[in-house]
Symmetry: C2
Subunit: 221 residues, 2 copies
Amino acid sequence: MQKLDSASKPDQKPPRARGRPRAFDRTEALDRATRLFWENGYEATSIADLTGAMGVGAPSLYAAFGSKEALYEEALRHYADTNQHFVWDGYFAAPTARAAVRALLMDSAAALTGCVADMPRGCMVALSNVGGDGHDDLRELVRGARAITLDRLKDRFARAVAAGEIPASADLHALARFVQTIQTGMSILARDGAGREELKAVAALAIAGWDARLAGDGAQD
Amino acid sequence: MQKLDSASKPDQKPPRARGRPRAFDRTEALDRATRLFWENGYEATSIADLTGAMGVGAPSLYAAFGSKEALYEEALRHYADTNQHFVWDGYFAAPTARAAVRALLMDSAAALTGCVADMPRGCMVALSNVGGDGHDDLRELVRGARAITLDRLKDRFARAVAAGEIPASADLHALARFVQTIQTGMSILARDGAGREELKAVAALAIAGWDARLAGDGAQD
DNA sequence: TCCTTTATGTAACGTTCGATACATAATTAG
DNA sequence: CTAATTATGTATCGAACGTTACATAAAGGA
């Protein structure tokens, strides 16, 4: 669609568009939309809400983003781009799988309770249900986004097995599901008002479960 | 249709109401409505959806239930009445707090993945967000319903401390939040397709965390 | 300059939303 | 029987929904 400036040199400057320039900052508008969807979900956020918060007329919104569904998709991507690092940077920097899980859950406890001022509580991805009727494509999109956590955990655990940190007998899938359950559940608790210290205590208990299962091994329950 | 041999003895039957009798079974209609709300949530379920599934005209629906909000409230209560026992019976019957938690999580793993045929996945209470705009009363109602779990857990743990099962030094609130987080998170995973055995493995890991924290005690992390 | 292109603001589109007026049917009370 | 009462079906209400036509404004290309 874009990037086909065949003629001149591949300048790094965005050459001014042709027609009337848009009067609003597209990224900032997207940011406002993201926050609304994050707080209220897809169904409960109307176009009127969006245009109001974005400071943009409806035709401009549609010209810039296509449709409500397309805007939601972009908002979801924007959310991931701008908020992922709060939760995943420590995870990817950690030297061991245990430290990675600990970082993920502790950083999640912080981020989900508003690590920066006036951030909505809970994870936009975890909390979007995107109602069951129409919008099957959005539902799949969100499910896919939620599945990424599981994949990352399983990948990391597999490497930990290769590195000898985790015994080969461990059920990596179950461990990943466990961590995913904790992180997901924390979003709903955060939305309901649970505080940061409460969620950190939950994370600490999850780590205790991790240790118990991986130290004791085969502690059949 | 049903048992209307009026001629015979004057039973202590509920005396027939005065006007034209309603042509549908109120409880069954409520059951259908509950299922719809459970599957799709409040916002994504329209009156047309409801009247269709309940086999009732809109005026009858409003005459019987008042409004969409009132119907949702009643559906939520109906859901609790008819489904609570799947998850809480074992909990209340358990002799120890540990056994109670184990029963709660294991039974939740079963119930949330459809312990009876064709039951929606996940807990209706945990999964309702009830969008942020209007409907503040419903949001509070659902939050209150979610808070019940925490109260029950803390009550049970307090009794376990009194009975000497749990050391008095334990952080009962954190333990309760931990269990609540697991159970809540399992609902979203179940809705996304996680299987019963996966969730039972998660429950087992949570119990391992419980044991680790309560056996080792003060295992500061 | 004029022409094309793109964005904006107003105003409205058709649809669906939750909720009802109204006439009619079905039942009890007297 | 008649009167009162309640439920149902049709048809529709005003409002809000997501979306777009249209005329106008602001930019670059000729």
